[in-house]
Symmetry: C2
Subunit: 340 residues, 2 copies
């Protein structure tokens, strides 16, 4: 186990390294000057050697200072640093900026710009696009007395099918009836509107069939949710220019990753549900993002998270500040969504 002071040294290294844009690593002497560690450079050197043995820091080349490794950043984020809260004026600014939004797209657009500006990194906002798709047709087929196949056709031409085991046998006539009622209500309507359009449908059926109808409906609703397209908005790519001074090589795979929406959606999707997640360097499954960190968090209008947002930046980032900004923005976006 690392002693208290060694952790303190690691913290100091991370802070110093992250605090400057210079390509230099941080050395023992500079550390003792900038931080009140209460020990001499020589002691710090010993600690650094120990930290290096443990894999928390590394030297880019012999006789240079040390820089944190992914493992070092991980420890820093987990144990040594909190989330830096936004100041009151910052919070006000966030709120004001988001309050001006006129519709969902505008909210997302503003959010992405805001987040990019606050963190000076690349911002990514994922949001469900419930509004666009509409139902073209719903088909129900009886495969066995208590087994129905549901086929959903959307106006985009996508076809989804589900098997349904009914709680009770379901006659052909009831099935035809349900099919007709269902289509007359939902055909041409938006996914988002479907739940309320069908909620009283079971009432029109005999008591014995209601359970089955309810089952079919809930399967339909589930399918719709899965079909809901997830969209992404990205901003602040110009901040990539601050990456490193060497960066043609660094920046390219990142730009490529940002264009692969699938990659990003997966990235955000993997992150824990609603609590904040930080993925550092090689912790990102996607290889192109191996020298970047992704800070993401869920957000939503009510209590639970319906979507994710976050930023991607160099592993050498100000974690507490970034986490603070991401958390604050997510919170206010949730608030705005709840109001509207």
């Amino acid at each position: 186990m690392l002693s208290e002071r060694r952790l303190e040294v690691l913290r100091a290294i991370v802070q110093d390294y992250v605090g400057t844009d210079e390509p230099v690593a941080v050395g023992s002497k500079a550390l003792t000057e900038r931080h009140r560690l209460g020990v001499s450079p020589a002691t710090v050197r010993n600690d650094m050697a120990a930290l290096e043995d443990e894999g928390y820091i590394a030297q880019p080349h012999t006789s240079a200072g040390r820089i944190p490794t992914d493992k070092g950043y991980r420890l820093f984020v987990d144990k040594l640093a909190g989330v830096k809260p936004m100041t009151a004026p910052e919070r006000r600014a966030i709120q004001n900026f988001l309050d001006g939004a006129v519709d969902l797209d505008d909210v997302v657009g503003r959010t992405v710009r805001l987040l990019a500006q606050l963190t000076r990194q690349v911002a990514v906002v994922q949001y469900p696009s419930l509004t666009r798709s509409t139902v073209r047709h719903v088909e129900l087929l009886s495969l066995a007395p208590a087994r129905v196949m549901l086929v959903l056709i959307t106006d985009t031409g996508r076809v989804e099918q589900r098997m349904i085991d009914c709680p009770a046998p379901f006659g052909e006539t009831s099935l035809a009836d349900l099919r007709a009622r269902l289509n007359s209500r939902v055909a041409g309507r938006r996914f988002a509107d479907v739940p309320q359009l069908v909620q009283d449908l079971p009432d029109a059926f005999e008591a014995e069939d209601r359970g089955t109808v309810a089952t079919v409906l809930s399967t339909l609703l589930e399918t719709l949710v899965e079909e809901t397209e997830e969209r992404l908005m990205i901003g602040g790519t110009a901040n990539l220019t601050r990456f490193g001074h060497d960066f043609p090589l660094t920046i390219r795979p990142v730009l490529e990753a940002l264009e692969e929406q699938v990659v990003l959606l997966k990235l955000l999707g993997e992150a824990g549900d609603s609590s904040m997640t930080v993925r550092i360097g090689h912790e990102n499954a996607y290889e192109g993002l191996n020298s970047t960190s992704v800070v993401s968090v869920g957000y939503g209008s009510g209590g639970e998270a319906v979507a994710k947002l976050g930023v991607v930046g160099p592993t050498r980032m100000d974690y507490p500040g970034t986490m603070g900004a991401v958390r604050a923005v997510a919170r206010y976006v949730g608030q705005i969504l709840a109001e509207s």
Copy 2:
């Protein structure tokens, strides 16, 4: 006026310069070696001096070769180079790739990827997003006997107002009648559906009012068209890494410009209607794009162009090839849109 051979020299310079990624300018000797100009380097030198006097080429520093200026590229594009047609296999590939699209968004997404890949540059596709907005309310106010104000409120909360000079005086009662009929038909409906919903409205009015009703309706339709949101999709930003070897400075403003959708929309909008437009370097109004060229063209499902697409890349680009790709893609996208 420039002699035939001098134009040939300019063409050779542009081709050589564009053909390599090296930061070197092109000199007289190399030119005579790679192109069959039939004259000696010395002659070419004289021609180059003349071309420089006219402002078509420049030398980055004394005693280096020459590189084309914006004016030189302009001449090249206008007079010296045609549009390089795609080969048959390329055309087939384009068509196959686009044929797989399932909906408009998918078409646009595929187009942007395709264009980025073909040209190895940043692709931009603008498309009208007619489908999303709906009308909340239309208000008509009588300001004078033959003067009406039209106020349009959309579901996104946007408000547009227009003055209308009527061909004939229009009574309060007729106005109220029109207002009521109009709203009952279009409230809650999509912009795209409005034209057909109101087309027979004038029939319900007295002959003397029909002219005015028609005027009001056409103003409304115009307003809707203007309100139609224009959306953008961008791809291939990773190609920016091929810009120059110096590029932190070059790339940044370009990334910034790409994020300013307004800038891009304007850029595409300014371009000529349906014929291909090439804006070279400083011809672009937006300063950040002063070292890039934009090749754009209109596309649409029928004969006329409803939207634009194009690429932005370094002024040092393969113009014939890029123009060929842009034109081919626009053509096939139009075809796909017409089919669906």
